[in-house]
Each structure stands twice: as structure tokens, then as C-alpha cells.
Amino acid sequence: MSLTLFNVILAVVIAISFVGLNAAYLVWAERKGAGLFQRRPGPMENGLWGLLQPPIDGVKLMTKQLLIPGGVDKAVFITAPVLAMFPALVSFVTIPFSDNIIAHPIDVGVLLIFAFAALGSMSLLVAGWSSRNKYSMISSIRAVSQAVAYEIPLMITTITVVMISGSLNLTDIAARQLDGIWAWHIWPFQDDVGFNLLMPISFLVLFVCSVAETNRAPFDLGEAESELVAGFHTEYSSMGFGLFFMGEYANIVIGASLTTVLFLGGWSCPFGDLGFFPLTHNVGWFLLKIYLIIFVFIWIRWTFPRTTIYGLLNLSWKYLIPISLFNLLLTAALLKVF
């Protein structure tokens, strides 16, 4: 076996196991977080602090029957869960965990992530459509209108950052922010744009959009269980459902990684590179940042009730898109001036 092929296989195995492990243990973290926010202990029975719960749940899911209801569009029905998981996996290729830990640096990494994120909402659409279930259908319509509404401010905000850093390569974008916490894109003062007061707000816009893009509460209208049973995955059982679930949590990791790279300096140490181990720029800071963001995701989920579909679309079209557009124009102007 040639060394390159071996490297590729190793990278794929590491990527898949990272995604799988994250998906499994984010479910645990979610349940634990839900418990602690509601002053319950959360999962406690299996293993220390319930840490054996995710593998046990996985075995349970795998041993269940893969039921395909009568009258569904079978080929599409089977494709949909794969389509949910696969883009999330591919997106991991471009995420720079550190300056040398990256599966494949791509010059248009940002573009690739957005392309595959769109494919993710495609999977929700076909899952709901092929299920032959009215609730699933409504759910998928909602999920897509939500994805369309929130991808626009997400992209405009990302373009703002891309304009500042002058690159679509995520490694380059992160590498621009390596001079300690004040070099991060979240702050109003940037090298090339002088003073842009809207940058922290842009960060908030991106954050809200990534919550909405991953279909999480309070924007989980696609799977509003009190109204739509379980939304687009109502008819899925066993690992069909499992793949949707894993895809969702993988998307959360992608969203958190993107936020980290674009605004929080990627793998940079907030104190600058001091030369000795924990305070150098390393992958630990990246993981710390993405898990902090994921903690905020969980925190938000267990704090706010679900919004209405109109409230959700209003927030995007009336607030997030104008604000992000305004920031785009302001950044362009500032780039011209400075």
C-alpha cells in the first residue's frame, strides 16, 4: 500500500471517528446540560456520570428494525439519511484544527462548506417529501424556508470576513488572527479596516444563523415535536434516524468550527504565542473554543421556547439580513478608505 493511500485512509478514519464520537458524546452532553440547567442530574445510570449511555443508545438504535413504510418513495427515502450525514463528513475536510492538522486545505474551503450545508437542507427536503406523511412534508417545507432565510445572512457575514482577510481558505483566515485575542475578527478594530463597530454584531449574526442552520432550538421548527410529531424523521427508524441525528450533531460541530475560524481566531492562543506548551497556538485552543460555543448552543436550547415560523422568518429578513448587508457595505467602504 502506498503511503499516500495510507494517509488518505488514516485521515478518513480519523475524520469519521471524530464525527461519530462527537455525535455520540454531544448527545450525552446535551442531556447532561439539559439536566443541569433544569437542576436534575441528567444521565447517571450507565457508567460513571452516565458516560456509557451513548454506546448503549447506539447499540439499541442498530438493533432496531429498519422499517420502510408502505407508499414511500423508496429510493429517495433511503438516500435521504445518507445525504444528511455525508455533507457533514465532507465539510470536515476543510476545517483547520491547527496549522498542520487539516485533512485537505482547499483554497475555497468556505465555499465548500456552504455548498455542502445547502446539500444538508436538501436532505431534509427529500426526507420529508419521500416519507408520505403530511407532518413530514410540512416540516421539510419549514426546514427549507428556514435554511434559505438563514443561509443568506450567514453567507453575507462570511463574505464580510472573507473581504477583510482576503482569502476563502479557512487556514488563511485563521492564520490572520494569531496575534493574541485582540487580533480576532470579533473585535471592531482590524488591521485593514480601521474601526468597524459592527464586527461583534456580525459575530452574533453568524452565531444566530449557525443555530438556525443546524435546526436547533429555539429554531427547531423542522422537528417541532409538539406540532409535527418528529418532523422530517418521523417515518425513520433504526440507523436511518440515527444518521439524521449524527448528521445534526456533526453539523453543530461544523457550525461551531466555522464560527471559531471566522471570528474567534481558530487555533490561536488568546494570549499570543508565549513559546511554552499550553500557551502556544495549538489544537487544544481550537477544541476549547468549539466546545465553548457548543455549550452556548446547549445553554440556548434549554433556555428558550421554540419561536413561531413567522417570528423566525421575520428575524432573518427584517433584522439579520439588513444588518449583515449594512456591515458588508460598511466593511467595503472601510477597506477602500484604509
Binding site: 440547567f37 437542576r39 447517571m44 428558550f304
Partner: protein, 146 residues
């Protein structure tokens, strides 16, 4: 356009207020108990099904007057007794409570003049079989004495 920015700021502020509320609860200790392993002690005055009260030797206080049996509106209680040779008093040999029809009215406890019947604190009662709710209270008293 009026109220556009005030809506934005008030909304954001109320969201932050909400997040502060939950964040304060996050580090606190759980208020729940992990039920099958630990449970809350039942209140002393909780009305479970009735049980017999024993004296110091563990024998029931009951003198088999039959007041409780007569007071019961749903005929839940059935008492059997024997009168040993040369004794003036009856001795209780069986006290059966049919809990399926008991409405916990407490007439039996009220009618007892010999401090022989009381409400138990038993609340873990669940079964799929009717027979499980016919209690032999004399056996229960013996069990409690041990």
C-alpha cells in the same frame, strides 16, 4: 419603521435575561432524587391503606369487637377470630383488607376504640393482578415486628 431598533434591543435584552436565569441554575445542586435508589420519606399523616397496631409484645391491640368491619361502607374488612377455652376474650386470627374497593374514608380508624388500626405510609402500590391488593394485615404486623 417605528420600534425597529427598540424591538431589537428589548428582544436581545430579554433573551440575555433569560440566559442569565438558566446560567445561575446551572452550577447548583440537583433538586431531584434518583428515585429507585433514594426516595423522599413519606409524610407522617399520609393516608395509605390501613394497618394493625401492635402492643409491646407485638400482639395486635385488636380485641375483635368488629366495629371497623361494621363501619366500613364498602365491606373491605373481614375479620376471623377464635375464643380459646376458658378465656373471656377473643383472639384475632385473620384480618384481611380488600384494598380494591377501599376508598380510604377512614371510618374504620375512626370507629376503633382500642387504638388497633391506623393508616400506613405505604404508597408504592402497583400491580397488574387484583389479588395483590388483598392484604393480610396480621401477617404485615408480624413482619413489622421482626
Amino acid at each position: 419603521m417605528s420600534g425597529y431598533f427598540s424591538d431589537l434591543f428589548l428582544g436581545a435584552k430579554s433573551l440575555l435575561d433569560g440566559m442569565w436565569v438558566t446560567l445561575k441554575e446551572f452550577p447548583k445542586r440537583p433538586v431531584t432524587l434518583s428515585y429507585p435508589h433514594e426516595s423522599v420519606p413519606m409524610y407522617r399523616r399520609f393516608r395509605g391503606h390501613i394497618e394493625l397496631i401492635g402492643n409491646e409484645e407485638g400482639a395486635p391491640n385488636c380485641v375483635v369487637c368488629g366495629m371497623c368491619e361494621r363501619a366500613c361502607p364498602s365491606n373491605c374488612i373481614s375479620i376471623t377470630s377464635v375464643k380459646p377455652e376458658g378465656s373471656k376474650k377473643k383472639v384475632l386470627t385473620g384480618y384481611t383488607l380488600d384494598f380494591t374497593t377501599c376508598s380510604l374514608c377512614g371510618s374504620c380508624v375512626e370507629s376503633c376504640n382500642f387504638n388497633a388500626v391506623r393508616f400506613s405510609n405505604e404508597y408504592n402500590l402497583a400491580s397488574t393482578r387484583k389479588e395483590d391488593f388483598i392484604f393480610d394485615l396480621l401477617a404485615r404486623l408480624k413482619e413489622q415486628n421482626q
